[in-house]
């Protein structure tokens, strides 16, 4: 290996192999990938991955699902952005999912996710996600991998500190990143009146134990600061929630400078059980607001969007024992609670250390009123009284921490481009590994629960630079997989992701895979425009509205010849997939449609609205290769001028040419 320096001029491939081979010998610091990495991530064809990895899509607005350790992309679930591939946001049934108090919003920025838990362990039922721009929380059903529900958050802007859950999924929280004037106040005020008019807001969204149905139980009215991230207490600290906040300077401009003035910002500790008591005792104020609640019904295969006009608000300045501020150095970002619930880790973006707070000490300090004063009416606990200890010189720019369940934590360092493993008890650093480059979030399967399953850590980087073949100015987004089963963290794979990955969740595949739905039962389909067989298909005209009840089955549509559509008509194609078989979706597309395709699962009905723009012949076809005769699965619809006397006709297999005039009009 002493010749290794002369290898630098060789091709990257040869270099990588030599480094790989060399790693069988004792490692030196330059060896990023060791020789057994390939076999650790290789999942043979036909074998399943061991873990599901749900990765936020950032500005794609969607959630992606990977198998680990292979990093094979299994699915992209449309959540907050339209997806023409799946008809999401284009079908009549899915459009209400993207409705908001502002109207139909076709895009958002999905940052964080949390899997539902029972007793602090992942139960595999749902995964929640936040919309960071127009504040919303979504619930995805993990039997269908379909967005089941979206609720909008009033009194908020930039729902960043979300959607973190309590240990029995009693609540999903939504903490506002931007403080703003409350919705029922006049927002038309001077921006530099921030300190007077702008308020922070934390929403507690209740989750129905049986159905998952979400409702805003209450909101906490808080001082105007930026809420960043959060995690619930667990075990001994169940009943509390911890939120990082920055911009306690209350700057309204050039936050880059003006929100970095103070030596310490805060972690806000919230006693949500106390808040529940106040709510029950009638201490909340009913405020009039406007937000939407969108629910997808799997029996009607349709979403509904309802306007909500009230929210219960608890004033944390008045109700003094709900919230406490803990000083935390330098604009804390990540706010993570260890599996025992005793240790709360704050990661100041600009800090040169990681403070670890003790829940027991915090409780003692609160009981003893060991406060250094208050901030906008909220008591501020003395830093040293809540502090367990500090990790000294851990790296530069700590952002997020996950836990391995063996007494250790792993933290990402954006500025020094590394992950660092440290022991929670003695606060000593155990290992560090470079990442490529500048990591943001990280994820250990169950790494924010009471029971981590710490075989891997996946790191989601912010900068990719030279890691992949270049693709112009915009490069692949990058995740990196490390084996953490041994003492040393071992980089074993790079893989690209969709959008920009922020937080992610991972769980053993067995928790989810056996509950996966294979198809929807046709007999349970209560869509108002379903056709449960070809005998029920029809075309119904009512003035200018035409409803086409059409079915798809291998390998034809019924009807597949339709005449009598006229200019000015509003045509609704209600396509029912009659299949009752696994993995046989049908697609539906029509020439010139200004919308998208439909992708209809077996047993499902989906509707495409179509307003033809000129008379003529419009072919339609199945877009999802369904059988050997998929290419035969097509039809024609004839559009005549307004006022024409073309009769309304529809059929399949019957519209034969007259025997004496084949090929003529």
């Amino acid at each position: 290996m002493k010749n290794i320096q002369s290898f630098v001029i060789c091709s990257g491939l040869v270099t990588a192999i030599i480094l790989g081979a060399g790693s069988c010998k004792p490692k030196n610091a330059g060896n990023a990938v060791s020789g057994d990495a390939a076999s650790k991530v290789y999942v043979a064809p036909g074998k399943y991955d061991e873990f599901y990895n749900f990765v936020s899509g950032g500005f794609s607005g969607q959630m992606s699902v990977y198998g680990l350790p292979s990093a094979r992309l299994l699915r992209v679930i449309p959540v907050f952005s339209v997806d023409p591939e799946k008809g999401y946001g284009y079908s009549e049934e899915s459009k209400p999912m993207l409705n908001t108090s502002h109207g139909f919003v076709p895009w958002d920025d999905l940052h964080h996710e949390d899997l539902s838990q029972t007793n602090g362990e992942i139960d595999g039922r749902w995964i929640f996600a936040n919309a960071n721009n127009t504040p919303r929380v979504a619930r995805v059903d993990l039997t269908t991998f379909h967005t089941a529900e979206i609720i909008e958050i009033p009194n908020s802007a930039g729902n960043h500190s979300s959607p973190f859950i309590t240990e029995n999924t009693e609540y999903v929280v939504a903490g506002t990143r931007f403080s703003v004037p409350p919705d029922n106040a006049d927002g038309d005020v001077a921006i530099n009146s921030y300190k007077k008019n702008f308020k922070g807001s934390i929403s507690f969204i209740s989750v129905d134990k049986a159905t998952g149905s979400m409702a805003i139980a209450f909101q906490l009215r808080c001082p105007g600061v930026n809420f960043d991230l959060s995690h619930a207490g667990k075990g001994k600290s169940n009943g509390w929630f911890f939120f990082s906040c920055y911009n306690t300077e209350q700057a309204n401009t050039l936050l880059e400078v003006n929100a970095s003035q103070r030596d310490k910002d805060f972690i806000m500790a919230v006693n949500w059980k106390k808040a529940e008591e106040y709510l029950k005792a009638g201490k909340a104020v009913k405020e009039s607001v406007k937000y939407v609640h969108n629910v997808y019904n799997e029996k009607t295969h349709s979403a509904t969007s309802e306007i909500r006009t009230e929210v219960m608000v608890l004033d944390t300045k008045e109700l003094k024992d709900i919230c406490y501020f803990i000083p935390c150095p330098k604009s804390p970002h990540g706010c993570d609670v260890d599996p025992t619930g005793e240790y709360i880790v704050g990661s100041g973006k600009l800090a040169a250390l990681i403070p670890v707070f003790s829940f027991d000490k915090l409780m003692k300090a609160i009981a003893a009123k060991d406060f250094i004063g208050d901030y906008d009416g909220i008591p501020v606990v003395k830093y040293e009284s809540a502090l367990y200890g500090e990790v000294k010189k851990p790296g530069l720019g700590p952002l997020h921490t996950e836990f391995d369940g063996k007494g250790n934590a792993i933290t990402t360092f954006f500025v020094s481009s590394e992950i660092v493993k440290w022991n929670i008890k003695d606060l000593k650093i155990l290992d560090r590994a470079p990442t490529y480059y500048s990591p943001g979030h990280l994820c250990i399967p169950g790494g924010d629960t009471k029971k981590p399953n710490a075989k891997y850590v996946i790191v989601y980087n912010k900068i990719t630079k030279d890691r992949y073949l270049p693709t112009g100015p915009e490069l692949a987004q990058s995740a990196q997989l490390f084996d953490i089963s041994g003492d040393k963290m071992q980089l074993i794979l790079d893989f690209p992701t969709i959008g920009e990955p922020h937080y992610a969740q991972a769980v053993a595949a067995d928790v989810i895979r056996n509950n996966s739905v294979k198809f929807y039962k046709l007999e349970e389909n209560t869509h108002p425009f379903v056709s449960k067989g070809e005998g029920e298909t029809k075309v119904v005209r009512k003035d200018k509205r035409v409803d086409i009840y059409i079915t798809a089955i291998r390998s034809h549509f019924a009807p597949d010849n339709i005449e009598g559509i006229k200019m000015g008509d509003e045509v609704y194609w209600h396509v029912t997939n009659l299949e009752q078989d696994w993995d046989v979706p049908h697609g539906f597309a029509i020439k010139g449609a200004l919308t998208a395709e439909l992708l209809i699962m077996p047993g499902e009905t989906q509707t495409l609205k179509w307003t033809p723009e000129k008379p003529g012949m419009y072919p339609f076809y199945c877009t999802d290769f369904c059988s050997a005769l998929h290419q035969e699965m097509q039809g024609y619809v004839r559009v005549s001028p307004m006022g024409s006397n073309t009769a309304l006709l529809f059929s399949t297999g019957k519209n034969m040419p007259p025997k004496d005039s084949i090929g003529t009009k």
């Binding site: 057994d36 043979a44 399943y48 294979k518 291998r554 696994w582 059988s627």
Partner: protein
């Protein structure tokens, strides 16, 4: 081992790669050169007939296999290696002779076809019972000619409301399947003799 980039040629490069790769495998994996990898719970090997799925509608193979009147047909499909193909997406129309229909053949015919050296002949006969398209009984018309999977044709006639194939086999019942339809017939269709 030192690579000099100047006298580097493709052949040496490949040999070197092979040596290095093998070296890496054997040295680090100790699994006689095989990249074993990881991964859990492999699905069953083989074709789609092995997919574990107790909830979907039955395909044409499962429909036939579920009938006690079609044990000869199912055994023949297995012998002819047609189970995998017929478990596929289709769409298929399968004319399924009953056990009684096979019994009408001259004695020893079925046993003869089930011999290993007669596999091609058996495949030819069975493929003469399948067409690619899901055709319901009511869509057949008198005089209609169907192109079968083996390349030969079957002619349909309609008499007294009955659908008859090649003037010899009558459709006595029809069963919808997920990947097509099974028409039960009372006689075996024999493909025309090859020229």
């Amino acid at each position: 081992m030192l690579i000099n980039i100047n006298d580097f040629n493709m052949k040496r490069y490949k040999i070197l790669l092979a040596v290095l790769v093998l070296g890496t495998m054997t040295a680090c994996n100790s699994t006689d050169g095989k990249l074993t990898g990881t991964g859990a719970a492999a699905p069953a090997a083989g074709g789609q007939e092995n997919v574990k799925d107790d909830v979907s509608a039955k395909d044409v193979v499962k429909v036939a296999a579920g009938s006690k009147d079609h044990t000869t047909l199912v055994a023949a499909l297995k012998q002819a290696d047609l189970i995998t193909s017929l478990s596929n997406a289709g769409p298929f129309t399968v004319f399924a002779p009953t056990n009684a229909a096979f019994d009408k053949l001259p004695a020893g015919t079925v046993d003869g076809l089930m011999k290993a050296d007669q596999k091609e002949a058996l495949q030819n006969i069975l493929q003469y019972h399948v067409t690619v398209a899901a055709m319901k009984a009511e869509t057949f018309t008198d005089g209609q000619v169907l192109g079968m999977v083996n390349g030969d044709n079957v002619t349909i006639s309609i008499k007294n409301g009955k659908v008859i194939l090649n003037n010899s086999a009558v459709i006595i019942a029809s069963v919808a399947a997920s990947n097509g339809i099974v028409h039960i017939i009372d006689a075996v269709l024999l493909p025309p003799a090859k020229k």
